[in-house]
Symmetry: C2
DNA sequence: GCATATTTGTCCGTATGTATA
DNA sequence: CTATACATACGGACAAATATG
């Protein structure tokens, strides 16, 4: 269970021991990134250089380098002379992200023009797709709705992978990470994820049959519904928090 | 005479605020970025922290922040304990970049489904497109081939802008900046840019007529030719430099 | 392969500027 | 308006890694 406690910085101390191999700044960024996309810190929270540097036992210089990395990934926003804050996505951001998702994922599916054969790298990608569908269904059977969410991320990363572009892959990962800043408003995860299990299955089947064009149309429909549902929930949550603030 | 109002200083400071204040690290990054995309430093060159910090009169810490920013933009690569180097794009990188360009730019053009009217933001974007075409032609008439190249960049940024997405806009700018690390191998700029002036004109006309689909097809053709031409010249240049090294 | 010089990685102390109670 | 807290930027220091002869 997520617990965005006010002094969550102390939680970071426990994660510190996993600091191991690469550059310190990158490792710090990895740790912070995990905390951010798991929703352990609420949007708009200011991240104090001092508190975190002490908690992670790194210098402020190193921590600032990590902050730069995460700002570039749009998980943090840097305000000059005010510090860094956990990104709070606007509704416009969500719309923009889905606009880009539609472009990328549909284009990736349209790259599929022939049925997948037993060997070849294309077939391994369609296998990834199928595997994400299966894992998602199994998680749903267990009632593990966060697990369904994770499987769904894998599914969409696998869709993007069909474009055969490392830049598209990385971009997709970034977009999904950004979206996770929003997903936490979907409290009843079941209602959010369950309807899409069947969609994913159908899209995977179309890909296996080499029907990239039709798969793209199905995904377009999927993404439009998901976007609408997310926006409704998100703007409702925003209105409620405004009420809380105004008291 | 400019209005000598006693408050003019206030106007200046407010204008400065709208431009967005920047930190030293970002200003340093701006300077370095310009040098990089203008090809003033050869790929694979190591950038010495000490030398540049002294030259720009900033501390090493600040410079390192700028390095991080540019590494994230893929203009520099960071090698642990070895420093940062000017990015050297591989042929695979060029292919990957064009793959993403095709996805983004064609998708943007397909957003155009109706003729542009006199007002509305869509028409301003198609005006940007037309303006880039005109500027390019004028530069060609002057024999200013670098100018043609710049106008061409504007053209493609304007194409991407039709997608109405800030993320697509930023992405496109980054991709074009990356590509500029390669363009310098095209010594006879004239042969590279001249054939595409007519293509740009035709695409702009199709956009103005609301024929997004057909404009997309024309651009697809354009991008495939440009990619091929660039790859041939680039791999040839790479082979030559290998020969130079092996002696 | 070794010893040396150079360069990066990281940290600290501090002075200055900026935002906010 | 003042005080306080904090971010920004600098310069120096030293260990660790790397390049060089």
């Amino acid at each position: 269970m997520v617990d965005p406690s006010p002094n969550w910085a102390v939680d970071l101390s426990s994660a510190r021991h996993s600091l191991g191999r690469t550059s310190t700044a990158e490792r710090v960024a990895d740790i912070l990134r995990t905390h951010l996309i798991e929703g352990r810190v609420l949007p708009r929270t200011r991240l104090s250089e001092d508190a975190i540097a002490v908690a992670l036992e790194v210098s402020r210089n190193t921590l600032r380098e990590a902050f730069r990395l995460l700002s570039h990934e749009r998980l943090l926003v840097h305000e000059l002379n005010r510090g860094v804050f956990v990104r709070k996505l606007s509704v416009e951001d969500v719309i923009d992200i889905y606009r880009l998702r539609r472009i990328l994922e549909v284009a990736a599916l349209r790259c599929v023009t022939s049925p997948s054969t037993r060997d070849g790298r294309r077939s391994s990608k369609s296998a990834d797709l199928r595997s994400a569908v299966t894992v998602g269904k199994e998680a749903a059977d267990r009632g593990d709705w966060p697990g369904v969410g994770t499987a769904n991320m894998h599914f969409h990363r696998s869709v993007a992978a069909l474009a055969n572009s490392v830049r598209v892959d990385e971009l997709m990962s970034r977009l999904l990470a950004e979206l996770r800043l929003v997903f936490h408003v979907m409290v009843p995860l079941r209602q959010f994820h369950e309807p899409y299990l069947a969609d994913n299955d159908r899209i995977a089947t179309l890909v296996e049959a080499g029907e990239g064009e039709r798969a793209g149309e199905a995904l377009l429909d999927y993404l439009e519904r998901a976007e609408r549902q997310l926006i409704v929930a998100y703007s409702k949550a925003n209105r409620q928090s405004e009420v809380l603030i105004s008291r």
